[in-house]
C-alpha cells in the first residue's frame, strides 16, 4: 500500500499553503482602499457611528494584530462576522456552498457524459463525417463566453419554449435537477469541447499504439480492443485536465451564477470583494483554496487507481 503513502503526507504539506494564502489575502484586501463600515452604514452615517462600529469589529487595530486574532479565532472554528450582513461568516458560507457545489458537480456530470459519448464516437469513426462534425462543434464552441451561452439558453428554453425556469435554487435535491439543468448545461457547453478534444486525441494515439496493433494481429475485434484496453489507457491525461478545469470552475462559476441568479459562492465572493467585507473574503478564499487542494488530491488518487506505475 505504499502507493497511497502520499495520503498521509498531503495534509502536512497543506499547512504552509493555507497560511500563505490567508496572510496574502488578508493583507491585500485590507490594503485596498475602501472601508466596509462606511459601506455598511452608508453615505448618510456620521463619523461617530463609523468609529463606533470600527472599534466593535476590531478594525481600528493594526493589520497584523487583526490577522493574529483572525487565526486564533479560526482555529476555534470562528471565522468572524460578515461586516456587511452582520452575521457569522460561517453561516454566510454554509448558505452559499451548497448551490455552487451542486452546480459544479452537475455541470461536470453532464460534461463527462457528453465527453465520453462525443470522444468515443469521434475516435471510433476517425476521419469520417461524424468525426469531422464533432471536431467542428468543439472548435466552434470553445470560444463562446458562458454569459452568452446562458443568455441564449434562457431566450430559447425559458422564454420561447417555456421548458425551464430562468432561475431558482431549492433545498430539494431532485427539484434542482430541473432548476439547475440550464446552468449545468452552460458549464457543460464550455467544458465539454476542451475535454473532448483532449480525450479524442488520446484515444487515437492509443489506438495506434503497439499493443493495439498486437491485439488486432491476434484477431481481437476493434470494439474489444477499444473498450478493454484503449479506453482505460486513455483516461489519465483527461482526468488530469479535468482537475485543472474543476479548479478553474470553482472560481469561475460566478458568471453563470449571475446569469441564472443562483445564490452561490462566486456571487458572494465578488460582493465581498466589492464591499470590502474582509472576513467573508478571507474565509471564502480559504474555502476555495481548500476546494482546489481537495480536487488535486482526488485527481492524485484517481491517477494511482488508473495507473499502477504511478508513484507519488
Amino acid at each position: 500500500m505504499d502507493r497511497f503513502a502520499f495520503l498521509l503526507k498531503r495534509p502536512v504539506q497543506l499547512i504552509p499553503v493555507i497560511i500563505g494564502i490567508s496572510l496574502i489575502t488578508f493583507i491585500l484586501i485590507q490594503m485596498t482602499p475602501g472601508d466596509p463600515v462606511r459601506i455598511m452604514l452608508g453615505p448618510k452615517a456620521s463619523q461617530d457611528a463609523v468609529d463606533f462600529i470600527r472599534a466593535r469589529y476590531g478594525l481600528d487595530q493594526p493589520i497584523l494584530v487583526q490577522y493574529f486574532y483572525f487565526v486564533l479565532n479560526a482555529l476555534r472554528g470562528d471565522f468572524g462576522q460578515s461586516i456587511i450582513y452582520r452575521s457569522p461568516v460561517g453561516r454566510v458560507i454554509l448558505d452559499r456552498i451548497e448551490p455552487t457545489l451542486y452546480l459544479i458537480l452537475y455541470g461536470l456530470a453532464l460534461s463527462v457524459a457528453f465527453t465520453l459519448a462525443l470522444a468515443t464516437a469521434a475516435a471510433r469513426s476517425r476521419g469520417r463525417w461524424l468525426d469531422q462534425v464533432v471536431r467542428l462543434v468543439c472548435v466552434g464552441s470553445v470560444g463562446i463566453p458562458s454569459y452568452f451561452v446562458g443568455l441564449m439558453l434562457i431566450l430559447g428554453f425559458c422564454l420561447k419554449f417555456k421548458l425551464f425556469p430562468v432561475s431558482g435554487y431549492s433545498p430539494n435535491f431532485f427539484d434542482n435537477l430541473y432548476h439547475l439543468f440550464l446552468p449545468a448545461l452552460t458549464i457543460a457547453i464550455s467544458v465539454t469541447p476542451i475535454l473532448t478534444r483532449n480525450l479524442r486525441a488520446t484515444f487515437i494515439q492509443q489506438m495506434d499504439a503497439d499493443y493495439a496493433t498486437a491485439g488486432r494481429s491476434k484477431g481481437l475485434s476493434e470494439g474489444y480492443i477499444f473498450s478493454r484496453h484503449v479506453f482505460w489507457n486513455s483516461l489519465l491525461p483527461t482526468v488530469n485536465l479535468m482537475g485543472v478545469v474543476v479548479s478553474f470552475l470553482i472560481g469561475g462559476t460566478v458568471v453563470i451564477e449571475n446569469v441564472f441568479n443562483i445564490p452561490g459562492m462566486g456571487q458572494a465572493l465578488i460582493r465581498g470583494v466589492l464591499t470590502r467585507d474582509y472576513f467573508v473574503v478571507q474565509a471564502m478564499t480559504l474555502v476555495l483554496a481548500f476546494g482546489i487542494v481537495i480536487t488535486n488530491f482526488i485527481v492524485d488518487v484517481v491517477t494511482v487507481l488508473l495507473d499502477p506505475r504511478v508513484k507519488l
Binding site: 485596498t32 482602499p33 475602501g34 466596509p36 462606511r38 459601506i39 455598511m40 452604514l41 452608508g42 453615505p43 448618510k44 452615517a45 456620521s46 463619523q47 461617530d48 457611528a49 463606533f52 450582513y85 452582520r86 452575521s87 454566510v92 448558505d95 452559499r96 456530470a109 453532464l110 463527462v112 457524459a113 457528453f114 465520453l116 459519448a117 468515443t120 434562457i154 431566450l155 425559458c158 422564454l159 421548458l163 425551464f164 425556469p165 430562468v166 432561475s167 431558482g168 435554487y169 427539484d175 435537477l177 430541473y178 474489444y224 477499444f226 473498450s227 478493454r228 479506453f231 449571475n258 446569469v259 441564472f260 441568479n261 445564490p263 458572494a268 460582493r271 466589492l274 464591499t275 470590502r276
Partner: protein, 509 residues
C-alpha cells in the same frame, strides 16, 4: 468493462442528465404572492440601520409609522397616530395613537413609539439621525399619547414622521432579542410580517393578520428577491418568475411595454449631477466652475442617457420637491462664454480628474460626453474608472476633484434635500463637495423654521439661485424611476421616497 456495457453506461449517464428536461415542477397557485426583483441586496431589516435602496423599499412593506403619506407623497395623513396637535410655539408635538397591534399580537403603545424615536435619534449606530437633529426628546405621556419636544421651530417635522427609519418597533422585542437579532428577524407593525431572510437571495414576508387597517393588505405575501443581473431580471419577469422588476435598463423599456408590461417612467426625486470638490484646485475657483457649467450641454446628456425619460436640470433642486423654482432657466451650453470665463479664471492648468464608479454604464456615458464637450472649451477632463467602494472613500475623505453621482430625497420637503446637498455645516459637507456658504446655511435654517407659504418659497428660490450662480454642484438632469410590472399587478407604484405607495392596497388579479 466490455463495449456493450460501456456504451450502455454512457447512454444511461447522458440520458439521466437530460432527464430533468422532461420533469415539470408545478408552482403553488392560489396564494397571492407578489414577487419583486431588485439589483441590490438587502443588508438589514432594522429601520434605524437602513440606508440602501433595497432596505428602504422593504421597510415600507414591514413597518407602520406615525403618519402615512398619500400615494404621490404630496401630503401626510393619519397612520398609527389618529390625530396630533402642535403647541403654539411649534416646539411640542403630541400624537394620539389608535388601537393597533404588532405582528406578534402585542399592542402598539406610546412607550413603543417613544422607544423607536429615541433609538433612531440617539443611538450611536443609527444611520440617518441627521434630519431629526431638532428632536430633543420623545416621551410617553400615557399608553396612547406620545409627546415629542423639539429645540427649535421645525416645519418639516411632520413630513419626516413617515420616512423609512421612523418605523415603529416593539420595545419589548428589541430589548429581548438585541439589535443584531432583531435586524435579521424583526417583529413588524406594518402590512406584512417577517417570515424568512436568506442574505444574498431573498426576503420572504406574509400578510400581517394584526395590521391596523381593517381588511388589508390584499396580498398574502411578498418575496423580495435579489437578482443582480439586469438581463436576468428582465428574463424572469418575461418568464413569469417575477411580477415586479425594479430598475429596468432604459434601453429595454420599450420592448417590455410592447410585450404588455406596465413600464412607464415613474416620478422620482433624483438629481443626477457632477459633484465637484470646492476645497481643491481647479474647482475652488468660481470662474472655472462657471466655465465648466456653461461648457456642458445638459440636454444632450439627458437625451443620450435617459432616452427622453428624464428632463435637463436647472438647479440642484428636483422638480419633485415643494418650492421648486420652475422659472429658473436651464443653463444652455455656450462655448464662447465658457472660454471667456476660463480665461477670466486665470487657471493655468485647465484639467481635472473626472471619477466614475466602474460598472455604471450611465455614469460612464455621461463622463465621456462631458469630456468631449469640455474639450471644445479647452478644459481636459481625465476620466478615471474607480471601483464603487473606493469612490465613496475618496468622496468622504475629500480625495477627489470631480465625480458623477446622484441623490434622491425621501420627502417633498426641500429642507431634508438641502441639508443633504448644500449645507456646509452638516456631517457630509454638502454631499462631500465641501461647498460651504454662510448665507445658504443661514437661509436653510430660516426655511426650516418658516411656516408653509410664499415666504418659505422665496427662501428656497433664493437658495436655488445662489447655488446655481456659485455652481455648488453641476446639476445635469432629473431621471425617472424605471420599473416594469406584470399586467396582473394592480395599484402599485414606486413613489419619490423609494416606497411602494399603499402596498397594502396592491392586488394580484
Amino acid at each position: 468493462m466490455d463495449r456493450r456495457s460501456f456504451l450502455q453506461t454512457t447512454a444511461f449517464a447522458a440520458g439521466l442528465a437530460t432527464l430533468p428536461g422532461l420533469a415539470f415542477s408545478a408552482r403553488a397557485a392560489d396564494a397571492k404572492i407578489l414577487r419583486m426583483g431588485y439589483g441590490s441586496d438587502v443588508l438589514t431589516l432594522d429601520p434605524i440601520k437602513t440606508v440602501y435602496g433595497s432596505d428602504i423599499m422593504i421597510q415600507g412593506l414591514m413597518f407602520a409609522r406615525l403618519l402615512q403619506a398619500n400615494a404621490d407623497r404630496s401630503e401626510v395623513g393619519p397612520g398609527l397616530a389618529e390625530k396630533w396637535d402642535i403647541s403654539d410655539d411649534g416646539l411640542v408635538y403630541t400624537f394620539y395613537l389608535r388601537d393597533a397591534k404588532f405582528a406578534d399580537g402585542s399592542p402598539i403603545t406610546a412607550e413603543d413609539v417613544a422607544f423607536s424615536y429615541t433609538r433612531m435619534r440617539f443611538q450611536k449606530d443609527s444611520a440617518y439621525a441627521a434630519p431629526f437633529q431638532p428632536l430633543k426628546e420623545a416621551k410617553a405621556k400615557d399608553a396612547k399619547t406620545v409627546v415629542m419636544t423639539l429645540d427649535r421651530k421645525f416645519t418639516p417635522f411632520l413630513t419626516l414622521t413617515e420616512i423609512w427609519n421612523t418605523g415603529i418597533v416593539p420595545k419589548a422585542a428589541v430589548e429581548k432579542m438585541g439589535d443584531d437579532a432583531f435586524a435579521k428577524a424583526p417583529v413588524t407593525s406594518g402590512p406584512f410580517k417577517f417570515v424568512d431572510w436568506k442574505p444574498g437571495d431573498r426576503v420572504v414576508l406574509a400578510k400581517n393578520e394584526h395590521y391596523y387597517r381593517q381588511g388589508l393588505p390584499h396580498l398574502d405575501g411578498i418575496e423580495f428577491r435579489y437578482v443582480p443581473d439586469d438581463n436576468t431580471r428582465i428574463s424572469m419577469l418575461q418568464a413569469g418568475e417575477l411580477d415586479v422588476n425594479i430598475g429596468v435598463p432604459i434601453a429595454r423599456l420599450a420592448e417590455l411595454k410592447a410585450a404588455g408590461f406596465r413600464a412607464d417612467p415613474e416620478t422620482s426625486s433624483v438629481t443626477y449631477e457632477l459633484l465637484i470638490n470646492h476645497s481643491k484646485a481647479p474647482f475652488d475657483n468660481l470662474k472655472f466652475r462657471q466655465a465648466v457649467s456653461h461648457g456642458i450641454d445638459r440636454k444632450a446628456i439627458c437625451d443620450t442617457v435617459t432616452l427622453g425619460t428624464g428632463t435637463p436640470a436647472n438647479s440642484i433642486f428636483s422638480p419633485a420637491l415643494n418650492y421648486f423654482d420652475k422659472s429658473l432657466p436651464v443653463i444652455q451650453r455656450d462655448v464662447a462664454k465658457a472660454k471667456a470665463l476660463l480665461a477670466e479664471s486665470g487657471v493655468s492648468d485647465a484639467s481635472f480628474e473626472l471619477m466614475v464608479a466602474a460598472g455604471t454604464s450611465d455614469d460612464e456615458k455621461t463622463a465621456v460626453l462631458i469630456q468631449a464637450q469640455l474639450a471644445e472649451v479647452g478644459i481636459t477632463a481625465n476620466v478615471a474608472k474607480v471601483d464603487p467602494t473606493s469612490v465613496w472613500t475618496r468622496l468622504i475623505d475629500g480625495d477627489y476633484q470631480s465625480q458623477i453621482n446622484w441623490w434622491y430625497n425621501e420627502t417633498r420637503d426641500p429642507d431634508n434635500a438641502l441639508r443633504w446637498c448644500a449645507w456646509g455645516a452638516g456631517d457630509n459637507k454638502s454631499y462631500y463637495t465641501r461647498y460651504n456658504n454662510d448665507e445658504v446655511n443661514k437661509l436653510i435654517e430660516e426655511g426650516a423654521g418658516e411656516v408653509e407659504g410664499d415666504k418659505r418659497g422665496a427662501i428656497y428660490a433664493k437658495i436655488q439661485q445662489i447655488t446655481v450662480d456659485e455652481v455648488a454642484q453641476v446639476a445635469l438632469y432629473y431621471p425617472a424611476w424605471l420599473n416594469a410590472y406584470s399586467p396582473k399587478v394592480k395599484d402599485l407604484i414606486l413613489n419619490i421616497g423609494l416606497q411602494f405607495s399603499e402596498i397594502d392596497q396592491t392586488d394580484l388579479v
